[in-house]
């Protein structure tokens, strides 16, 4: 048994279990807030992209292209290091806010493409039906188009959420504590990379596994709604 303790001393992992637990909850929390932000930005960008107004759709298309062709790390650095004091806050963003905004902007671009595909999958008759009962544009979107659009693209949206959870590990580089940060803590305090990063990997796999179960469940529940 000695060689196992040599390679992976589970006692150290257990000793740091509270740290890893805090890391998991921070990762989930950061991902959830970023997800809400990304869905909001993504929906807005998707609707703008489909508008007839050339200024609106150009802004949206430019945003998506810019995000898709630069790495997330650079986006995090630009937002965290380069943004001057915001007039609304009266101070610079702290690292957590900066990280969440970067993650939300990044995932929002990918999600806007998915949501746009979802909106385009809604048949013309649905919109005409809503128009004929006298719904305004906002009502049509809110009650008819978006609910069906989201149901149609739930699987790719969940896939993108899994990517978002993994990407959230990058905010540890601007000093945000999350799951990967917990691994970095173990590495710096005990100089034990195995105990640190193998445990982190298992924790991420656990989160991924829960996501898979949830995604299968959601797909089964929505099976009837899809075309």
């Amino acid at each position: 048994m000695d060689w196992i303790l040599d390679f992976y001393n589970y006692r150290v992992a257990i000793q740091y279990a509270p740290e890893f637990a805090r890391g998991i909850s921070a990762t989930i929390w950061i991902s959830l807030v970023s997800l809400v932000l990304a869905l909001t930005i993504g929906t807005a960008a998707a609707i703008m992209r489909m508008s007839a107004n050339p200024v609106l759709w150009r802004i949206s298309a430019g945003y998506v292209q810019a995000i898709r062709s630069t790495p997330l790390l650079i986006q995090i650095y630009v937002i965290y290091f380069s943004l001057p004091a915001l007039p609304l806050l009266g101070r610079r963003l702290d690292e957590l806010e900066g990280g969440i905004i970067a993650l939300g902007l990044n995932a929002g671009a990918y999600m806007s493409e998915i949501i746009r595909a979802g909106i385009e999958s809604i048949s013309r008759g649905q919109i005409e039906g809503a128009q004929s009962v006298g719904m305004t544009y906002l009502q049509r979107m809110r009650y008819v188009v978006l609910p069906q659009a989201f149901a149609n693209v739930l699987p790719p949206l969940l896939g993108q959420t899994a990517v978002l959870i993994k990407d959230s590990s990058l905010v540890s580089f601007i000093g945000v504590f999350e799951l990967f940060g917990a691994g970095l803590t173990v590495l710096s305090e005990r100089l034990m990379p195995n105990e640190a990063f193998l445990t982190v990997a298992v924790c991420y796999l656990a989160i991924y596994w829960v996501m898979l179960i949830f995604s299968n469940f959601a797909q089964r529940r929505l099976g009837g709604v899809r075309r």
């Binding site: 292209q65 898709r68 790495p71 790390l73 380069s82 896939g159 691994g183 990379p193 195995n194 990063f197």
Partner: protein, 222 residues
């Protein structure tokens, strides 16, 4: 400001060159590995395809950053001499493994997208399973693989930014060094870095979209 651009550009271009080098090596190795994994997963038996499915899930379920740290920090701790990797091979190997999961899924989806009638017709003319795969199915599947491979290439290019954390002087690292020399022009330098990435990725994305209109594409399982 123009001075700073003039002074830092050579640094950034040297970084971009390393980014290009890593991404080119990775797309080669990662595609080869992914092709093998994808083919084995399609034609192999139950045991093979379950094992490879686990491999893909394990790599897909953890961040690339974790793979990089495991390969760079954990493997040397095994004490086996050939696993003591330098930063550059560690970066290329971890990125290739990560890429292979994407490529494997593309290969499988493309092979399954070729209509069954094609391989059945090939088999009925007397070709063996291998011949029908090589002469009939694969040539058609390869075309379907080209557009999504553009997306994978962009994922690799963006992935190379992460290997800066184990000390490879690629574009992000070069940008960081430049900001230490000119801390006042931080926004400008990171902006230039982002622009260089854009200049590298955007043509690839456009090319992928062009290929998609030309060859059609496969829908990937998400």
């Amino acid at each position: 400001m123009v001075d700073v651009i003039w002074v830092t550009m050579p640094f950034l271009l040297a970084g971009l060159w390393i980014t290009i080098k890593i991404s080119l090596i990775t797309i080669l190795c990662g595609s080869l590995l992914g092709f093998v994994v994808g083919m084995l997963r399609t034609v192999g038996g139950w045991a093979v395809s379950t094992t490879l499915g686990l491999y893909i899930h394990a790599l897909r379920g953890t961040p690339f950053l974790v793979h990089l740290y495991i390969i760079y920090f954990v493997l040397p701790a095994t004490g086996i001499s050939w696993l003591q990797l330098e930063a550059f091979p560690a970066a290329v190997i971890s990125l290739s493994l990560y890429t292979s999961t994407y490529v494997a899924e593309i290969v499988r989806a493309a092979i399954e997208a070729v209509p069954r009638g094609q391989s059945e017709a090939a088999r009925s003319t007397g070709m063996t399973a291998l011949q029908s795969m090589w002469y009939v199915v694969l040539p058609q599947a390869l075309k379907l693989m080209i557009p999504p491979m553009g997306g994978v290439y962009v994922i690799i290019i963006k992935g190379t930014s992460i290997v800066s954390v184990i000390g490879i002087a690629e574009l992000v690292r070069a940008g960081e060094h430049a900001t230490q020399r000119h801390p006042k022009e931080l926004m400008l330098i990171y902006g230039m870095t982002a622009l260089l990435y854009f200049a590298y990725c955007y043509p690839v994305l456009r090319l992928a979209r062009w290929a998609e209109t030309k060859f059609g594409s496969v829908r990937l399982p998400s």
